[in-house]
C-alpha cells in the first residue's frame, strides 16, 4: 500500500531555530506539493514541484522558507529562522498527472510548534 511519508511527525522548537521537514512521495508520482494547515486559514499551498522542478512557490514567505527536491524520493521544506506564527501542520502530497486534474495523496503531516 503506497503512502506518502513525512518526518518528523511532531516538532517543537524555539523561535529562531531552523526547522527541516522531509517528505517521501509515492514512487512514480511526478508532482509534489507542500501545504500548511491552520485553524484560521485552512489548507494553504506553499509550493509544488513537477518532475522535481519547482513550478510555483508563491505561497511561501521567501525570506524564511525554502523548498527543494534533491531527488525523486525526497522533498524538503525548511524554515530559517522559525517564528511562532509558523506553528501549523505541514502536509506533503504527491500525485501523478500530465494534464487535467488528478487526486493528490497526502502524508500524515508534521505538526510544528514554535515557542
Amino acid at each position: 500500500d503506497a503512502r506518502v511519508t513525512q518526518t518528523p511527525r511532531h516538532k517543537v522548537t524555539e523561535m529562531g531555530q531552523e526547522v527541516t521537514m522531509r517528505c517521501q512521495p509515492i514512487l512514480g508520482h511526478n508532482t509534489v506539493f507542500w501545504y500548511r494547515q491552520t485553524m484560521m486559514q485552512g489548507l494553504e499551498l506553499l509550493a509544488y514541484f513537477r518532475n522535481r522542478a519547482p513550478l510555483d512557490d508563491s505561497g511561501m514567505p521567501k525570506d524564511r522558507f525554502s523548498a527543494e527536491m534533491p531527488d525523486a524520493t525526497l522533498a524538503t521544506l525548511k524554515i530559517q529562522p522559525s517564528e511562532p506564527r509558523d506553528s501549523a501542520v505541514y502536509f506533503c502530497a504527491s500525485g501523478f498527472g500530465a494534464s487535467g486534474s488528478y487526486e493528490q495523496y497526502f502524508g500524515p503531516g508534521t505538526r510544528l510548534t514554535v515557542t
Partner: protein, 115 residues
C-alpha cells in the same frame, strides 16, 4: 477577493439520513472540483473529482454536483453512518495549462453522524 465557503463549520445529522454539504466560490473559474475527507490528526483523503462540464458524479453512497452558473458544488452522503463523521473539504482546480493541479481548498465542514 477570492473566496471558497463551505456551509457551517459543523453539521450534525442522524444516522441513515442524507448529509448535504455545500461549497460556494467567488472569483474562481474552476475547471475541476475535488472533494476530500479529513479525519483528526490525518491528511486529507481524496473522494471524488468532477469536471466543469459534468453536472453530477456518483461513487457508492456519495454524490457530487457542480453548477458553474451558481458557482456551487453540493456533496451528498446518503444513508449516512457514524463512520462518515469527519471534516470534508472541497478544492478547486482552475486547470492550469501546465497540468500542475494547483488546488485551492475550502476550510471544510465537520460532519457528525449521530447513531
Amino acid at each position: 477577493s477570492q473566496k471558497i465557503e463551505q456551509n457551517s463549520e459543523a453539521l450534525n445529522i442522524q444516522e441513515g439520513k442524507t448529509a448535504t454539504l455545500t461549497c460556494n466560490y467567488t472569483n474562481y473559474s474552476p475547471a475541476y472540483l475535488q472533494w476530500y475527507r479529513q479525519d483528526p490528526g490525518r491528511g486529507p483523503v481524496f473522494l471524488l473529482l468532477i469536471r466543469e462540464n459534468e453536472k453530477e458524479k456518483r461513487k457508492e453512497r456519495l454524490k457530487v454536483t457542480f453548477d458553474t452558473t451558481l458557482k456551487q458544488s453540493l456533496f451528498h452522503i446518503t444513508a449516512s453512518q457514524p463512520a462518515d463523521s469527519a471534516t470534508y473539504l472541497c478544492a478547486l482546480d482552475e486547470g492550469d495549462q501546465t497540468g500542475a493541479n494547483n488546488l485551492f481548498f475550502g476550510t471544510g465542514t465537520r460532519l457528525t453522524v449521530i447513531p
